[in-house]
């Protein structure tokens, strides 16, 4: 291609949005779990004092709007849940805190930032860079594969739903609508294919056996713990999703316990304990903050409209995954872009 040959590159330039605090929280907010507690700060967006947590008439937390006001949750971009693990105290694991410090120091020393992950796959270190993860051999190998090809086969890139905790790690806005009179809570999501979740608050049990049909978002049963914490038990996931953009795999044995709190009007604290005996040797807990965007509303987002990525996507052998495969003896048409 003559055209590209003409471009002058500056390979040393790496000054994009990546040079941020290594909380993987994206540019939109979502300070690491502990940092936002009490302060209600989402990366500076909600400067000023924490406003009181809104509550419903019965005293439970209102996870939605205050009457007369608009607003949405600005979900952060958590690309790597392996860096969001917290201990029983809700604080980042010491090893992760150290890894973040080391990465920050490497960047400060002009190390370019990307190498901090341990090299390989554009700076992604794969399973070895996350020794705190309770890997099984296969999940580590799968993660390494996804690291090496830079998440080329991310199902979310196919416009499939994120599923599970990744719904709260995909940077599109969402709302939580409580309907206590109906014993249900509905969560609506702008992005991730413009979908919704229902949390059953009616005290039901999970369907048993094959009546629990595996789905992208799973089956969600919620309950209140006191008036501050919404606990949601989830199971019945299919295996068509990844835990995160980085490609931590999971199986249909996964169950997820979510704990939702709203320490201030401006901050939602999200915590999820992932228990997948099919992929990890023990449960682990991830957590992060989600900032409130005052005045926001959810626009439409239909991912499937013009997903050219699918047309361009090839497998490891160079064959198109979704498009027509070349026929023997027929010259390929040159592909689409």
């Amino acid at each position: 291609m003559g055209a590209t040959a003409a471009v002058v590159f500056a390979s040393s330039v790496w000054v994009f949005g990546q040079e941020q605090a290594p909380g993987q929280a994206g540019q939109e907010g979502g300070a690491p779990a502990a940092a936002g507690r009490g302060g209600g700060r989402g990366r500076g967006r909600q400067a000023g004092p924490a406003l009181p947590t809104p509550r419903l008439a019965d005293g439970t937390v209102n996870f939605g709007r205050v009457p007369g006001e608009k607003g949405v949750w600005a979900v952060p971009y958590i690309t790597n849940m392996g860096m969001q693990l917290v201990g029983d105290d809700g604080q980042p694991l010491p090893a992760i805190a150290q890894a973040r410090q080391a990465a920050a120091a490497a960047r400060g020393a002009g190390g370019g930032g990307r190498a901090a992950g341990g090299g390989g796959g554009g700076g992604r270190g794969g399973s070895k860079s996350e020794p705190w993860m309770p890997w099984m051999p296969w999940s580590a190998a799968m993660y390494d594969y996804n690291s090496k090809n830079e998440s080329k086969y991310d199902p979310e890139g196919y416009c499939l739903p994120p599923g599970g905790p990744r719904m709260m790690a995909t940077p599109y806005q969402m709302e939580i609508i409580q309907m206590p009179e109906h014993n249900r809570i509905v969560m609506i999501f702008e992005g991730a294919t413009h979908i919704w979740r229902e949390i059953y608050m009616d005290g039901r049990k999970f369907p048993e056996g094959d009546l629990l049909n595996p789905t992208y978002l799973g089956y969600s049963i919620g309950r209140w713990e006191g008036k501050d914490t919404l606990v949601v038990e989830n199971t019945g996931f299919n295996e068509n999703t990844w835990l995160d953009y980085f490609g931590h795999p999971h199986t249909d044995k996964m169950s997820v316990t979510e704990r939702w709190t709203r320490p201030s009007k401006q901050t939602l604290h999200y915590q999820a304990t992932i228990n997948d005996p099919g992929a990890y040797t023990k449960p682990f807990t991830v957590a992060w903050d989600v900032p409130w965007r005052d005045g926001g509303e959810l626009p439409e987002y239909i991912c499937q409209e013009n997903n050219r990525y699918l047309n361009r996507l090839e497998d490891d052998l160079g064959q198109p995954i979704f498009g027509p495969r070349p026929q023997p003896g027929v010259k390929p048409s040159g592909g689409t872009r």
Binding site: M1, G2, W14, G17, T79, E150, T170, P171, N306, Y309
Partner: protein
């Protein structure tokens, strides 16, 4: 190898305020270590999900050869939060685009910022670049 056209390397500013939109893997398709800045005339705008595309004709100043480049941005929602509307950029407009080149060598770029020549307005393109670590 051709000589350069209106493409120069830019010291690209930290786009900390840009609303990002995640969809497919940025780094599977684009190379963040191949930044570009080029100016051309808009030939087509596809204001669509999950990524808005626009196309610009870029002229090689030495040879006169014109190449039509495909530029990928974020979703219309993300772009609107960054200050765009569907009519911000129209066919025929002259624009300067900053972004990263495709890995496959095709005339395709991931736009991070677009400057409209007519007004000088510089808008972020809701790219997911820089958020993949």
């Amino acid at each position: 190898m051709r000589t350069k056209f209106a493409v120069v390397v830019a010291g690209i500013a930290l786009l900390a305020s840009a609303r990002i939109m995640a969809h497919h893997s940025f780094s599977a398709e684009f190379d963040a270590n191949k930044p570009f800045k080029m100016t051309g005339q808009v030939t087509k705008v596809e204001w669509m999900n999950p990524h808005t595309f626009f196309y610009i004709d870029v002229k090689d100043e030495k040879t006169g050869k014109v190449t039509n480049w495909a530029m990928e941005m974020g979703s219309p929602n993300g772009l609107m939060r960054a200050g765009w509307t569907r009519n911000t950029m129209k066919v025929g407009d002259k624009v300067t685009v900053e972004g990263s080149l495709a890995k496959d060598g095709s005339p395709t770029g991931n736009a991070r910022a677009v400057t409209l020549a007519e007004t000088g307005q510089r808008l972020f393109a809701a790219s997911s670049q820089g958020n993949t670590q």
